[in-house]
Amino acid sequence: MNSLETVALLFEDLETGELAGWVAQRWIQPEPDADGDGWSFRDIDIARTRLIYDLRHEMETPEATMPIVLSLLDQIYELRRLVDGFGAVLAEQPTAIRDAIQAGLERAAH
């Protein structure tokens, strides 16, 4: 189990207070831990924490800008998921249809 304190230790200069602030703003959404008074970070939450850390500490993204950045990122991931789903449906189509679509996509890319 990865508590808030444990996750903060992964970084050289991340105070638990700042990390707790990210959770409070729901930038990261760990699950409540068994006691119900702390947080339990899953791998995806830690990866997202690293991303937010990079944005805030390495790239100096202003705090006020973060919700926009994260919202756009989340939308991109959602879009990628939708396009993936579309690709899966395409894969089930007859060869002739897939070829026609591939040719069309190549034309559209240029």
Partner: protein, 295 residues
């Protein structure tokens, strides 16, 4: 030993004192010399000692916590799982945008592909634009040229008297229709910028006209600017502050313009005026507050 914390049975947040205490307890229990009949004790003891050596050194402990060295103290490239490695999960679970995109997102993306024949037979789409015009353009009418995103220039005739928020429809100036279907329209939403002098109510326009005490009492002829050129306005004798003087047909699209008088006293004391008023007895005494409603 992969995890020195597990080896000592302490949480990652354990203090130095807790680590020391755990180490001592375990060292006592597993010391090989105290466990001559247990071959495994030696390995366990080495593990505990190595864990303690790592964790009792603040610098090494921090580097281990950050994943820069392994539990044997050897350098290892930081293993990082990037957020995008969870890409699919990310979108499918809690980090989905508010409400996600519903199934109609596909319709949005692929609207052209999924259009029915009926939809294809429809006319071209309307294009929407916004145009801000001046008060005087709205009052007198104007002709503006709008450059569209595709480079086309569109002449927009604005009729005198157009209202704020009104939308002009230019037939056939939108997206061309497919095949034989009609072209869409261009819809232009008009907003009217406020004017520093003139105010508007429907087709009537108002402006404030400052007058001196002498002009108000004796009357005057004053040159004023209107939306349709200058005029000479006659202020009748004995005009009070707030009086509206109508200037016919100089408002919006044939409506009237009203000058609202505002009485302005001299900025500096006028002893002669004060002396006159002190000795002045009005012909008809009146109380300007007599008709006011009492609180």
């Amino acid at each position: 030993m992969d995890d020195p914390y597990a080896a000592l049975g302490v949480p990652k947040t354990a203090s130095q004192a807790e680590i020391q205490s755990a180490y001592r307890t375990l060292a006592k229990r597993h010391h090989p010399d105290l466990n001559p009949g247990k071959p495994a004790a030696e390995a366990r003891f080495k593990e505990i000692s190595a864990a303690n050596a790592l964790l009792s050194n603040a610098e090494k402990r921090a580097r281990f916590d950050r994943g820069e060295i392994d539990s044997a103290g050897a350098e290892r490239p930081p293993e990082r799982r990037f957020y995008r490695d969870f890409g699919d999960d990310a979108a499918r679970t809690k980090y989905r945008p508010e409400g996600g995109f519903d199934a109609s997102a596909f319709d949005d993306f692929f609207s052209r592909a999924f259009e029915t024949r009926a939809a294809q037979a429809a006319r071209g789409a309307d294009l929407h634009f916004a145009l801000t015009i001046t008060f005087l353009e709205a009052a007198n009418g104007a002709s503006r040229v709008l450059t569209l995103p595709d480079g086309r220039k569109l002449k927009v005739e604005i009729a005198a008297g157009i209202a704020d928020g009104q939308t002009l429809r230019l037939k056939g100036q939108g997206v061309p229709g497919l095949g034989q279907t009609p072209d869409g329209d261009a819809l232009i939403a008009i907003s009217i910028a406020a004017h520093p002098i003139f105010r508007r109510e429907g087709d009537a326009a108002f402006f404030d006209l400052k007058v001196t005490l002498k002009e108000a009492v004796l009357g005057a002829k004053i040159d004023v600017a209107t939306p349709k050129g200058n005029v000479t306005l006659t202020v009748p004798p004995n005009s009070t502050s707030g009086t509206r003087l109508r200037i016919k047909g100089r408002g919006i699209a044939g409506g009237d313009l009203f000058a609202v008088l505002e009485l302005v006293l001299p900025p500096t004391p006028e002893p002669a005026l004060a002396a006159f008023l002190a000795g002045w007895k009005p012909d008809a005494a009146f109380d300007p507050r007599a008709t006011e409603a009492k609180p």
